[in-house]
Amino acid sequence: MKYRILTSFKLIMVTALLFSTLTWTGCTKKEFNDRNTDPTRLTTLDARDIMGFFPTALYAGMNTGPGMIDYQQSQGLFADMYCQYFAGTQTAFSTLRYVINQQFVRYQWYSTYITAMPALVTIINQSNTDATIPLKSIARIWKAFVFHRTTDYFGPIPYSRIGLDSTVIPYDAQKDIYYDLFKELTEAVTDLKANISKPSFGDQDKIYSGDNNKWVAFGNSLRLRLALRISKVDPQKAQAEAEAAVASGVLTDVGQDAYMKVSAPENYNGLARISGWNEFRMSANMESLLKGYQDPRLSKFFQPAVNTGQYTGLRQGMIPAEQALPQNDYGIASNLNQSLTPDSMFVTPMPVLHSAESYFLRAEGALNGWNMGGNAADFYAKGIEMSLRTWGINDMTAINNYISGSSLPSAPGGYFNTPALTNIPVKFSTDPEQEREQIQTQKWLAVFPDGFEAWAEMRRTGYPKFYPLIHSENPDVPANEMIRRIPFTDVDKATNGPAVQAAIPLLGGPDNAATRLWWDVK
């Protein structure tokens, strides 16, 4: 009996051992391969997946998306501050004193190269059939939009050779980039026009919901914007591109204005999201212009200060000790209008490119003597009208009163006894230089809150005028100068060093915030 029990034990043990041996040897290649395949993600893409990349590219192009701080760190603390739409109230941010915080600004680099471009390159590479020409064309237009913002930050950027798995990815000269952007836009618009009735992204198109005609006008307006951008450095090319863009059909009505829809839970209005943090307020520039012109957009852009009930702006470049003073407290300054506060972040769409701007661009082109299909004064008036309509001001009397207004910007005063920003009224001047200032000043108001565009055009044209910073902490850029670019990123210096070194000569100056970009000529 004992022997039998023992044998049974032996049997159990041996069976167990065999069983485990079998399970070990049972690890076939297939089983291991299956285990090493992530079931929650995709390895192959179907047509629907490819369309799904477009919203990703759109949100990243506007520096918003799942990340909470992307918008602030790529735009809110840089372009939006440098164009002086706002003044900073958070003591910890030295970016508002022209210090380039590399930890922050890399988010612009990331959203372009890590999120938007992989999505766009995938769409462009995988849309090779006749049926998908509209997808490819619209993706190319958006790619041009994203890249123009990035090159206008840094100047030379990696452009033609992106996506390489290499230890060095070269930068392209800004001129080459601009020339290619024109080519891209021209080809994309031509292709799209030829396939205008084919379906595109449909409801995955968070801007135009699949309306190809509007994308044609968008592409042309962007081309016009870029043409004016190079008008000082390369007038012939600028004129040719501008005239071709207008001839092909730019945005002409608020009905064509490009807004990016937002939706919960991830796709929010970036500006609305960050305005709740009370880290910035209306600038003195805004106060001077909007109050001086009795601009009906004042209450559309901003709200009265919590503590005073007044519309008040603050100055740029205060040091923490000054920011902390009650006279400069965010409680006494205007925050954004309720439509741009966190409660509305899943509601208020983000403005992308508007008809108003196209009119101001055409006004400037007309002043340059280009064939813009009209005269500067009419385009100027139309631009203002479209901008006011954009913000829901549709009463023609009010619009006309504003256009013919002769009041001047006011002096904000305050702790720094700030004078008026400038001395021009809204009413269109007859002096060509003043006309240029008026066009740029109104365009600055019209593109609000697009700090990228506002800052680029301030650098190019010197308008609208700006207040010197109270303090600059960037030794390269004195407080009374405009900051001219963002230095190359630390992250690229660390990982793509030789390419960054090779790109510095393309700048025509040192790699700092005072060096002007290719199109930014004195």
């Binding site: 034990f9 041996v14 051992l17 390159v121 990982t495």
Partner: protein
Amino acid sequence: MICKLHVAKSLIHSIMRTGVIFLVILGVTTQLLNASPSRGQDISKVKIKMELRHESLVQAFQKIESLSVFHFMYRSKEVNDIQNLDMAYGEHSIQEVLDQLLSNTSLTFRQIGNQVLITARKPQKKTAESPHQQPTGSYNAEAPMVEADKAVIVVKGRVTNEKGEPLAGVSVTQKGSTKGTSTDAGGNFSLSVDEEAVLVFTYVDFTTQELNVNRRAALDVVLQPGNKSLNAVIVTALGITRSVKSLTYSAQVVKGSEVNEAKETNVINSLQGKVAGLTITKNAVGPGGESKVLLRGNRSLSGNNDPLYVIDGVPLAGGIEMLNPDDVESMSVLKGASAAALYGSQGQNGAIIITTRRARPGKVNIDYNGGVSLDRAAVLPKLQYQYGQGDGGNYVSNSEHSWGPKADGQPVQLWNGDTVALRGQPDRLKDFFRTALTTTNSLSLSGGTDQLQAYFSYGNTHAQGIMRNNDLDRHNIDLKVGYKVGSKFTLNSKLTYIYEAVNNRVTPGEGGTYALPSIFRSPTSIPISEMKKYATVDANGTEQQSYWKPGSSILENPYWALNRVGYFQKKDRVIGLLVAKYKFAEWIDLQIRGSMDKTMQQTDNKVWADNYFSLVGADYNYGTANNLSTNVDALLSFHHSLGGKFELSGNVGGASQQGNFATEALAANGLNKPNFFFLSNAKNPFITDLYGKNPRVVSAYATATLKYNDYLFLDVTGRNDWSSALPENSRSYFYPSIGLSGIISDMVQLPSWITYGKARITFANSGYGGQQYLDRNYYQVGAGGTSISPTIRALGTYKPELTSSYEAGLEWNFFKDRFGFEVTYYNTRSKNQLLEISDLIPSLFNQKYINAGLIVNSGVELNVHATPVKTRNFTWNAGLNYSSNKNKIKSLTPGVDAVILQDDREAQIRAQVGGSFGDMYVKDWTRDSVTGKHLVDNNGMPILTSGNTVFLGNYNPKFMMGFSNNFSYKNFSMSFLIDYRNGGYVIAGTQALIDADGHSAASLRGREGGIVLDAVTADGKANTKAVTSQAYFGAIGDRYPTGMLYAYSATNIRLREFTLGYKLPRKMLENSKVFRDVKFSLVGRNLFFFKRDAPIDPEVTLGLGGGGLEYGALPSTRNYGLDVKLSF
């Protein structure tokens, strides 16, 4: 039946085939395989096949031992001379063999159980019991004489250790005779001896004791622990128990009593300062937080540097922070890759093997252990109380600063309308943090018979954090059952259940509740009583926060943050183990083991409306995480004499480890009805994360130890892993180790004052199979059906990571172990590291994986122990451990010479070729290139670098030391531990905040008249301009501080632990008849610093990966407690 037997036999052959490696090593004869082990064999019936050719009697005995279950007991001098024996090959019973071998000697033999006693024949008297009477032979040495005329009595007794626990298997022999037996599981023995005999009790690890029978029929014996260095055993990899002297690498044992007297809620923290080469970084998150544990430095740049934890043979899927310290019997710290080579991937960073208490046969033991302790914040920032809330010298009721006027008691109106006298509030931080009470209770029951033993324990911990909303509740239940069937088969099972609930685990810095930055950064003149009025109710009945600066982007009313942001975490953990062991023969057994470790976690995050950082009003997040790790392994162990002085032992085994991980997080993205925390009330519910992984590693391994004369040991191991995380062609990887140790004191004659001398050396490799899903690029599906590209480039040719190491050491003890040391030098080289490095951003990937790099760690570990005083009543034991580690990054990958590991507001942590892991780069105050002086601008303000670009230093310590002392006097004991950490930098972020805010004592500098900085302007001229202190500290401090100006040496020396214990005298207990043992201890931990440079406790950093960065961290605590141990 026959058929079954046949199957069984063929199965045995299958096992043998699988174990072919060991068979080759062993070179045993085939008869052996047929030796059928059974119980109670008779030497006259057990037949063996053997032959002898000019061999000695001892060799013959060894041969018989190897071929049977029998073991010979003999006196060497009686048998050594018998040589040159011959015997033709054939099958005989053992009795026949012995009869033949001993025929011409003066020896005879007798079977006692499985032992065969070889004794001298009694020439004078021929007793009836001796069946082998032979005529007196020529051989008649000085055989011990048993005087037969003395009366023989049966002595019964019980052998216990000094704690009264029974000792099983103690050898009991009559001195000068061959009579002997061994104790049973209950420590009992029974032996018939002469009434005047002297009994000798011998047992491994205990001092041999002799006792006169003196006609007593009952003897109770207490054995004292013996010479540690020679007899100590240690639990090593795979649960294999080995004698310390045979180890070829460094391992350190920490006894349970060292971690469960002055207890930590996370038991691992108790090892701080006790083990050379072990660095523990406590996570400043309140009780029960995980700690970062490093053995011999950081090997992996981006991966995991944690050691593997194994509890009773169960490799854990995570840490041991949930373990009940009272359950710990001992912890073996296997420091090097060599020590842990057998654990494979998981053991790369060393292993900590925990043996918990278990039952032993004998009477039922009941133990109770209770503790009460109090925690107080140990290091708080130094604040100023002379100036009140405000800015620029003016009182401002909504200011977050203390740059206001002199606080002389003038009446001011607070933000909430209350009027108070403006005065510094010196005790505010002390009042904010509470004296936290922790109580622990453990009760254990154990007992059993030879066949069945059971151990049950229940423990609970209720621990408060010094943050008023932070507490932890934990219940631990442990059940172990051991079952023995016959003499061959044992079954052990274990089931542990742990429940832990933590409310509001503290998040340092600006994550989580903001309560810590908010209290550190509140104006020093606002009374705590006013802060406590943290809420008002609006017209809708919804609470609104009452804070002096409404809508502040960073801060809140600290009491609001405490009460209106909640983090609740619940964990259930089940650890199960089943071990079956079958002893085929005395020299070979098979163990099969299955274990699992499952943790189910649930988290709730409730954010009340009007929290400023919550952008969507009230918010709610809910998450679950499930981790399961299962292991199955089989281990065939053997030991076998090779004849002569050689003995071979080894193990052959295989294992399969599998993980299953799944997490799910649901975000409400706002609540429809404020402060009603249910997902059905979610505004925009969204599952933010969901992933599942089930990696598997299958392994085969073998170890062999060749022992020569019990003083020279050669250790060889080999392991092959197949990891499912690797691509097909690199899935399999092999790594061997080889080590040699010699007991020099046994090999050569040394002066008698040298008790023990050992030298050892080991070379070892270990591999790591890495993470799954890295071999190809994946696309994700995002919210609203968007598609998302991968941001990390996959690594198609992913290879396993390999660490090769060597270590050499000496262990010497002197003066009967009164003094000794152990010193080890080690060097590890980690290659093929899986690094997640920044890719070139324009490549359209943020990061990429590479297999690269060579990281070298080398260091020295030293343990010294001494017993300066040892008298009957008084003993003083002292111990010192020292360790230093040097880390060098030799290479990364071609074209890459630096990788950013961490990019924090205070510093950038970079891995740079030529540098070390933990190098910090910070913002600095620029200097004039000519004068070397700091530069200021024309306003007298410092000119700072724009980014974290200036090298500061490394955050790792240069060396660490622990100095422990134990004193015992009669029933009193006292111990203390001094812990010294030398070198490394820490950046005090909180100081930067409170400087900029004007709360710190340091910010008093230049309050009146400003500060003229000792610096030059760009033209090289001395600075003459004064800046206000608010302007100066605002520039250098605040949330993105100039790290160089806030960097401090992390060097510190502290009294880590102090205990004072009293044990009730045994006599008193014997009278009570209830208690076996009663001990009271007063304990204290982290009591004070002998030296500290930083304004914070340098141990407190920003999370576990935070290295030398502190920012709004929870202060470390000083702990006092009372511990009671009762045994029934």
